[in-house]
Symmetry: C2
Subunit: 180 residues, 2 copies
DNA sequence: CGCGCCGTTGAGGCTCCTCAACCCGGGTGG
DNA sequence: CCACCCGGGTTGAGGAGCCTCAACGGCGCG
């Protein structure tokens, strides 16, 4: 069971027609899936986005550690709840939100998660994602992602250059994530 | 932490605009959410669809039971993995599938889960869902659900009458779930 | 009888997709 | 050095899928 040390990755599932759905982006410190603690069933594949360093642990050792120490077990609980609640949030976004909202929420989510790791500089963060990553994560096409991002840029909400993204108008941008 | 004994329920999240996303349908034997084993955080609400009987357990007692007995712990693992994998599958369906596919997959999923409980009679099952339930589960509108179901009926794929659904042409119907 | 909930059907429109052309930067090979 | 290609991003035109709005019928219930 692998844990990301450095770099960005994505866990995704492929469909027979070649399209893809990204389930989550994995940032430094993330476990690829807590389900791997309990069995070797991998129903999705993990793909590197940047160069990635990661550590692998033996499942039984990790199990012993986690269930031996109450405080570590507490950490696991929170990781599991977080994983489930983000999965649920993804379903809500894909089922009930417009393209603008999905993309804006994705960006804000990543910003928050990076900020929590001290990996954001104010409203700026490293942003190695290609547009087809965003498309696969939001259930859209790369073409439409491009149009929405252009719209955001034209509206002075965000700026993207050289694999780096900054939110220029946080207040207005946050309003986009929950229009309706 | 409640467990369904009898009847159908749904766990869902509401949005500010009044729309809803159903995350899963709860059938007899289901736990409302394994996350409840670890903390009182309920980020979604549970709603009865039919008359429901359920039992509640104290979290600490359940924890003690599960982590005391290795075989019960094994059961938990499987429930956990199943819950995550169905959540992921939902995201894939909402992100990358057409209305026809989503609805057909929902029906087949329910049929399979009921069959596993011995609650299906061949290709027939009790089907208490209103069309707005299906709409909220698939990210569609009730109007469109009605049109798709009519299409299915007209094509001789399924039959619905008196809260009961039967799949008339299993082979062809299964083909609908993965058109592309 | 009146009313509300549920499902059906049709007309029209918006969102997003498809297809296509084009640009740009970075290899790669002549 | 230039010619060429290739992956990534942008933009436009047209169309498909699904939504919105609206009207209507059936059914259960007060």
């Amino acid at each position: 069971v692998p844990i990301i040390c450095d770099g960005w990755a994505a866990s995704a599932v492929m469909l027979s027609n070649g399209s893809r759905q990204i389930l989550s982006f994995l940032l430094p410190g993330d476990i690829t899936s807590t389900a791997l603690l309990f069995g070797p069933r991998a129903h999705c594949l993990v793909e590197a986005i940047t160069e990635v360093r990661y550590c692998t642990f033996k499942r039984v050792e990790l199990q012993a550690m986690v269930f031996g120490q109450p405080d570590l077990f507490d950490v696991l609980s929170r990781v599991w709840i977080g994983e489930k609640s983000r999965a649920d949030q993804l379903a809500v976004d894909l089922g009930r939100r417009t393209a603008d909202e999905r993309i804006a929420r994705l960006i804000l989510n990543l910003m928050d998660r990076l900020a929590k790791r001290g990996m954001a500089q104010g409203q700026t963060m490293e942003f190695p994602l290609r547009q087809h990553h965003i498309a696969d994560a939001t259930g859209l096409t790369p073409v439409h992602v491009s149009k929405v991002l252009s719209e955001f840029r034209r509206g002075g909400l965000i700026e993207i250059s050289d694999r780096s993204l900054t939110i220029l108008d946080p207040e207005e941008f946050r309003r986009v994530t929950d229009m309706r």
